[in-house]
């Protein structure tokens, strides 16, 4: 008997008692649902809450009585929570959690919309969806830049700086050349420039990657701020009037209700962002490059012993991340606004949050970015209808969500094992 018969005793399961993670989350959801039904139900008015399928008040709409809607969706959220507590098969967990959270948000909206003053008591869904994506777009690019870097083991805190540098060089060279495409390439190079500094100092000189990232953010603010004041403010005509990408309509898709007008009549950046999510996701999990990238981020020594060039791959990925983030920065200056000082305003850090919340996966990061984008858009909307909820509370949401994610309340979050650790041969 050459193969030993070691009895394969199953490792003792951790006995969590009654309060498993599922039950705890179920209890929270139940409480939220009850709160929604009682509080939002009481505060909502008897008016109709209208969700129009257009950009204005008119047209087709989904309607529900405010009080009834608030109570109904609150009850649905509570029911989902109760189901989680009662103990359901594992595969239902995500579905029920999703249903519960969406119902809670809808209950909240029923209250808000029905309580809004006459003439503003409707919610244009097209605007909401479009706004969500527009606000999420820099987060998507930023988080993808984070994925590229961190999956290969380099922490990227410099997303903010990469976005800002991209926005700046896009604006500057777009203005000088008068061509959006030159601007786009310049933006990519600008982002890559910050990345190059990160790569050289983190990979070659083993500087602490988080510290280096923060320094680079400050550097980007400094450089762009200085040049903005010296060049752009004195001669905005010449240096800060970049041409903008026009909106491209996609045949057929543009006619889908709500989604069509919201998404498929946008500029190149939205299409590019969504395409990149798909491409990077497939590349990361299905190609040789992806396998090697993940290996280098998890166990660089193992990759090295198999002939993978660890440092080369890290350089390449960090530069690529800069290119992606640079283009993300240009989604501001080559489509929406002219450059202003520190115009990214912390989006790079929320992108970092989206990266963690999305568990270092491109699709996860996309969903997290959309969630943060929605919170942002909701804040804007509530401000517009004169809601009693201060918009600052919604602005806190991304950070709050990230804290919960990092604390492990939404499933186990595990960074690549070698993330942030410089690789030294031998």
């Amino acid at each position: 008997m050459s193969t030993m018969a070691v009895p394969d005793v199953a490792v003792a399961q951790v006995d969590e008692g009654f309060w498993t993670r599922t039950r705890r989350i179920g209890a929270v959801l139940l409480a939220l649902g009850v709160l929604a039904a009682v509080l939002f139900g009481a505060l909502a008015t008897d008016q109709q809450a209208r969700f129009t399928l257009s950009e204005t008040e008119g047209g087709a709409a989904l309607e529900i009585n405010g009080t009834i809607g608030a109570i109904l969706f609150g009850v649905i959220a509570a029911a989902a929570g109760a189901a989680l507590m009662a103990g359901v098969p594992k595969r239902w967990f995500t579905v029920l959690l999703g249903v519960g959270l969406v119902a809670f948000v809808l209950s909240f909206l029923c209250w808000q919309v029905s309580a809004a003053p006459e003439g503003r008591n409707f919610m244009p869904l097209v605007n909401m969806v479009r706004g969500t994506f527009v606000l999420a777009l820099p987060l998507i690019f930023g988080a993808l830049a984070g994925v590229l870097c961190e999956r290969s083991g380099v922490v990227n805190v410099a997303i903010e700086g990469q976005l800002l540098m991209g926005a700046f060089s896009g604006a500057l060279f777009g203005s000088l050349s008068g061509s959006v495409w030159v601007g786009l390439v310049a933006a990519a190079i600008g982002g890559a420039f910050i990345s190059l500094l990160l790569a050289v100092f983190a990979i070659r000189y083993l500087v602490d990657q988080v510290v280096m990232g923060i320094v680079l953010n400050l550097l980007a603010v400094g450089i762009t701020g200085f040049l903005y004041e010296r060049l752009m403010q004195t001669n905005a005509e010449k240096y800060n009037s970049a041409p903008r990408f026009s909106n491209w309509e996609i045949p057929l898709l543009k006619d889908i209700p709500v989604l069509g007008p919201a998404l498929f009549r946008s500029n190149i950046f939205l299409y590019l962002g969504l395409l990149l999510v798909l491409v990077i996701h497939i590349a990361l999990f299905r190609t040789r490059w992806g396998l090697r990238t993940r290996a280098v981020g998890e166990h660089p020594t193992a990759a090295d012993t198999l002939g993978v060039k660890v440092l080369g791959l890290r350089y390449r990925n960090v530069l690529l991340a800069g290119v992606v983030a640079g283009i993300g920065g240009a989604s501001y200056t080559l489509a929406l606004y002219s450059f202003t000082k520190n115009m990214i305003g912390g989006k790079g850090f929320i992108a970092l949050a989206a990266l963690i919340f999305g568990r270092w996966s491109p699709t996860g990061a996309l969903l997290a970015a959309l969630f943060f984008g929605f919170a942002d858009q909701l804040g804007t909307y509530l401000g517009a209808i004169g809601s009693s909820i201060p918009s600052q509370f919604l602005a806190m949401l991304p950070y709050l969500a990230t804290m919960l994610a990092v604390a492990g309340l939404v499933g186990r979050v595990r960074a690549p094992a070698a993330d942030g650790k410089p690789y030294i041969k031998g």
């Binding site: 009895p7 490792v11 003792a12 590349a283 040789r288 396998l291 993940r294 998890e298 020594t301 198999l306």
Partner: protein, 504 residues
């Protein structure tokens, strides 16, 4: 190296075995000299050159990505791809390759299993499969048995024999004499970076050991029979989780009496670490009690446990045992720096600390340039002696030593063992945890074998090695009757002397 030969490279820790092989595998660049393959000099710029030249290596610390599947680990670096420049992975082909190789050499592995879920023995098998799929002619195994149970070791030796039969050459690096004698065709002994001689496997153990360390050594620990007194440490129903919140200790009962050495044997990672840390108050217990000389001590902070008369040698000296940047003298008073005569109120008394340090260095034969030298500059053995000196300088009721001689030279091992026995003889209860079975057999008066968080059996030190080995693999005498392999370990009958593992 001849084709189809198993060549053992024997040497102490730090003798330069691993470095030599890392050069051969292209990980390090040689400062001088050359490597000849088939009579031609070979210049290795990196591991990929070595692989191309038909050299494969199984490292002491496995080079596997824990979150990848077996197939992904095997194909990494030599991926079969489709789709031109995009390079899509051909997973089906990788899986087939794994299946083929494991079939041919009888190395059963599941290509879709995730590495971190596999036991160490299987992980090692994956490493071998990984090398074999790269068509190597020469396979280097660096300390392959350090983490294996005796049975897994026997299995590995079988695999090595079948590889040899298939015409592969193997370099087998180890410091364990028994295994060398069991399998090697030729033996080269290395000491301090130099070849000190070759030997045939028929050479006696003592002869090999003497070559290895450069002088003759005693392979057993001298001691009188124990005179156990009252129970000092009583552990009952202890349940502890590890850092990943997985149950590590699952209902352990233990008693250590005054004046005896209780040895805890077991393959690494079966809960020994967590057991000791729980006793020391370094890790929360989920259930159970720990009693020291009749007084419950569970839930006490570590400092209070230490002050109650417990000496503790942690298993990882560089992380838990010493502050590397501090001087030898400072490290010697880490536990009592705030007590007279070393400290008073907010101040330390440097003169008292220095004086006591000189005495300890003398008593415990610590080889250091001075008491002010940073402890990190000393050799592993001398660092360990600093810890032992510190812990044995207080009046103790209980002395706990975890892996007391890991990565320590033979001379220091002898010294540390004699101090442990001397401590026992003055009536201290001693608990020794070691993954070196020979060390446990040599020191202990009773041996508790730990397997998957439980004490699976308590036996006397005269129990045959094979029986303890089976216990370490989770086979108790009752189940063994049907499952045990026939006297597997015939090659290593006698305690072979305190070996130790390269961890440093």
């Amino acid at each position: 190296m001849e084709p189809g030969e198993i060549h053992a490279l024997l040497g102490e820790n730090g003798a330069g075995k691993s470095t030599l092989m890392n050069v051969l595998y292209g990980l390090y660049q040689p400062d001088e000299g050359e490597i000849l393959v088939d009579g031609k000099p070979l210049k290795l710029k990196g591991p990929s050159d070595a692989i191309a030249a038909g050299i494969g290596m199984v490292h002491q610390h496995f080079m596997l990505v824990p979150v990848f599947t077996v197939a992904e680990n095997v194909m990494l670096g030599a991926e079969q791809v489709r789709g031109g420049i995009a390079g899509f992975l051909d997973r089906r082909r990788a899986r087939r390759e794994v299946a083929e190789v494991s079939e041919r050499y009888n190395l059963r592995v599941d290509p879709d299993a995730v590495i971190e879920d596999l036991p160490v023995g299987i992980q090692q098998r994956v490493e071998i499969v990984k090398a074999l799929t790269r068509d190597v002619d020469l396979l280097i195994l660096d300390e392959p048995t350090a983490v294996l149970t005796p049975q897994e070791t026997e299995e590995l030796l079988t695999v090595m024999r079948s590889l040899k039969a298939a015409g592969k050459s193997i370099v087998f690096i180890t410091h364990k004499l028994g295994e060398v004698k069991a399998i090697a065709d030729r033996i080269t002994v290395i000491r301090r970076g130099k070849t000190v001689g070759t030997a045939s496997p028929t050479a006696s153990r003592d002869e090999l050991a003497a070559k290895m360390v450069g002088r003759s050594v005693r392979l057993t620990v001298d001691k009188q029979p124990a005179a156990p007194g009252r129970p000092i440490l009583e552990v009952a129903g202890l349940v502890v989780d590890d850092d990943r919140r997985i149950r590590a200790v699952d209902g352990v009962d233990l008693t250590v009496h005054a004046g005896e050495v209780l040895g805890v044997a077991g393959v690494q990672g079966n809960g020994q670490t967590e057991l000791i840390e729980a006793i020391m108050g370094l890790r929360p217990l989920l259930a159970g009690t720990v009693t020291l000389d009749g007084q419950p001590v569970h839930g006490w902070p570590t400092k209070k446990v230490l002050r109650a008369g417990v000496g503790y040698v942690p298993e990882d000296r560089s992380v838990d045992g010493l502050v590397k940047e501090f001087s030898v003298a400072e490290n010697l008073v880490l536990d009592i720096y705030d007590r007279p005569p070393f400290g008073k109120g907010l101040s330390l008394k440097p003169d008292a600390i220095a004086k006591s340090a000189r005495e300890r260095i003398e008593q415990f034969d610590v080889r250091t340039p001075s008491a002010d030298a940073a402890v990190g500059t000393l050799s592993g053995g001398n660092q360990q002696k600093v810890i032992v000196a510190r812990e044995l300088s207080r009046p103790l009721k209980l002395f706990i030593a975890a892996q007391p001689t890991r990565g320590v030279d033979v001379g220091s091992i002898e010294f540390i063992h004699s101090r442990v026995i001397r401590e026992r003889d003055v009536g201290t209860a001693v608990l020794v945890v070691s993954s070196e079975l020979d060390e446990v057999i040599g020191l202990a008066d009773r041996i508790a074998v730990m397997y998957r968080g439980r004490i699976i059996g308590i036996v006397g030190p005269d129990t045959p090695r094979e029986e303890i080995g089976l216990l370490m693999a989770g086979v108790t005498p009752e189940t063994a009757t049907e499952a045990a392999a026939p006297a597997a370990d015939a090659a290593t009958p006698a305690p072979e002397g305190p070996g130790s593992e390269d961890e440093a």
